[in-house]
Assembly symmetry: C2
Homo-oligomer: 447 residues x 2
Amino acid sequence: MLQNALLAVAITLLYFSRHYSPLLAAIGFCIIGYQVTDALIPRVSPSFVKIGLFGKDLSKPGRPVIPESIGAVSAMVYLFLLFFYIPFLFYKYLVVITSGGGHRDVSVMESTHDEYLFPHGKMSEYLSAVLCLQSIVILGMADDLFDLRWRHKFFLPAIAAIPLLVVYYVDFGVTYVLIPDIIRKWVDTPRTAVNLGGFYYLYMASMAIFCPNSINILAGVNGLEVGQSVVLCIISLINDSLYLTLGTEASKEAHRFSAILIIPFLGVALALWKWNKWPSKVFVGDTFCYFAGMIFSVVGILGHFSKTTLLLFIPQTFNFAYSSPQLFGLVPCPRHRMPRFNENDGLMYPSRADLIEHPPQKVMVPVLKILHALKLIDIETDIKKNMIISCTNMTLINLVLVWFGPMREDKLCNRILTIQLAVGLLAIFGRHVVGSLIYGHDNIQFL
Amino acid sequence: MLQNALLAVAITLLYFSRHYSPLLAAIGFCIIGYQVTDALIPRVSPSFVKIGLFGKDLSKPGRPVIPESIGAVSAMVYLFLLFFYIPFLFYKYLVVITSGGGHRDVSVMESTHDEYLFPHGKMSEYLSAVLCLQSIVILGMADDLFDLRWRHKFFLPAIAAIPLLVVYYVDFGVTYVLIPDIIRKWVDTPRTAVNLGGFYYLYMASMAIFCPNSINILAGVNGLEVGQSVVLCIISLINDSLYLTLGTEASKEAHRFSAILIIPFLGVALALWKWNKWPSKVFVGDTFCYFAGMIFSVVGILGHFSKTTLLLFIPQTFNFAYSSPQLFGLVPCPRHRMPRFNENDGLMYPSRADLIEHPPQKVMVPVLKILHALKLIDIETDIKKNMIISCTNMTLINLVLVWFGPMREDKLCNRILTIQLAVGLLAIFGRHVVGSLIYGHDNIQFL
């Protein structure tokens, strides 16, 4: 009943989007995406288990076996939504000059023949985004299936970004970045922008690597991968609406494009979240993490607001920086760093790295003590021997447990998502205030 | 040594393609595609076996286990070649106005800014082709992994064709087909073309379904799937070169596009053939059959010469039509219809359908007898009871065995490929002679 009503709303939105804005169609596709994904997940999950795509949920009594890589379903639904979106996106250019007999095709054909009317450039941009997302789905599936090595999979997103970067190079090729006012005054230059040339492509490739991997690393609690993607969607959409209501014409276009890609994604992500949130009935797999991160990379790269995108990823960046002593071997890194589940009280506790058997690098001992004093880590010390016995693993998830004490898995996930949302909103606010200060202007007009 | 020499040739071709033709780059990518695919196949095959992608070769003593779905490797290499191809394809529009300091990026950027210079329409066309091919790879992999039902997988190519058809609709939208002169005189109309409207999309979707499935159905002998794709490439390229040397300007462009997609495919297909030909070290999987067929569909659809493409598929069409009594249940259809391997002499014999246990539809009895008289089938009859005991399975492969007698698997494959090549060449020849007759003109100028 509710489903039918929602579908009716979606179809109405698609219909009216022709006369108003492609964003209405995006909302329509968001609803359809939710319903289709929600319907598909229980139907295809058994097939995933059958071919070996399953995992054990270590934070539940009895460690139940759960289908893995189900995020691929959301990703596929999303990709097909993007295909069907194309006519709605470009509808305003398909001017219908009715030929009398109701032959809409004839008139559509006549109008699209005008080379200067139809924005082929926009179309290439859109198609290159879809290609990039489709590539990351293929590579993500390869990773989920073949369980690639960490040092290989880290670079997968850069490979998937190749179509995006190549089309960018051939079709647009803008490699200028604005120079902040402060720096302009400092080096005393009249130039407002600097051309990064080839380095800009390196920068974009790094963006493409960063977002997917940072989502993939902030994981280990039921629902966190999808939850953080949903929060990222919400913050992005708030930022986009700011621009769409108050922005300049050029920035409006970039943020319309952003909203167009993100709104349907929100639909498929919410459906996946329904199944993945605590207690998880499915796992999402690397495919989903890469895919979700790539959407934000693509939006940032094509919309030329990659610095703002990075602001949205502050919690993930913090998690990465905080993890780096363990990732780079300065502090021993156990195979799993997810929090420890206590079967007796059903709560999650911070997991710890054993520093007796595997002592950390000498240089890290005082650092660990300082971090402990700053409440950024919890260490156990043997006072007699003046030795650190163990420290909590350096992930944002464990840190939240250090701060707020042990809690149930769903509470933990929600706490992290709340922090992410708060930080994200502050970041956007800061970006527009500070942005005005360092660039001497902002591209949204508050007054 | 030879490998390095070939790579040097490839790089030289890529370099000079800038000054001459993107077709030189296609040959370069063909060589690179061959080498990369050939190097990857032995490296990734064990991983395929590990995750359950393997099959038994029923036509060998001992039925050895062989990695399955390796065609996905060729397909992925091909897709990445197509990405890297983009700058070479559009090089002539990236006019380099050297800025003095060797900053090529700067000048490239300046030139691509000109909206009217760069053929964005061509770019969308190309990207939609890549999207369609990438979609069929994903769906093909899903089929190889999950072993979809026949009635589902039959329609997969139509789903993969959605991006192609949508972009076609939005970006080009030409739904006219030429009316043959004969029909024009017959119905006495001055119109030279008729608008098929929506039916044209149905026609294109059928094309997309037909080519991939027809390759998938003509299989069952080592090397035949890839071999027939290679032969299709050769016939297509001969046809393309006819047009490129003798054709009108418009047809030249369509056939340049065709050659651009087919030449690199020839490279990855030849490398796969090296591993898949008798005695097979790998199986290609449905992914490859779909993928290979889709390339010819895409080329035919975007080049507007889908009727010619269908001519290239005469052997596959014959195989499909010939199979249809079994496919539609008029004659019983065993689970496998591949020829029977005789371990004693190592030769392949036509496999037979048992008509005693599962008698055919009454109406088919005289038909089978006529086919037998025409040497289009072999039947065994019980003269006393006037009953047909068995008939050879109705596939082109078995028919070749009926005609030429039992032979070794590699000889059988080569015989079929030779027939395919001969029929294809005749079809092209016929198309240009008969085409001139029924359309009153031909789009290549012999004189």
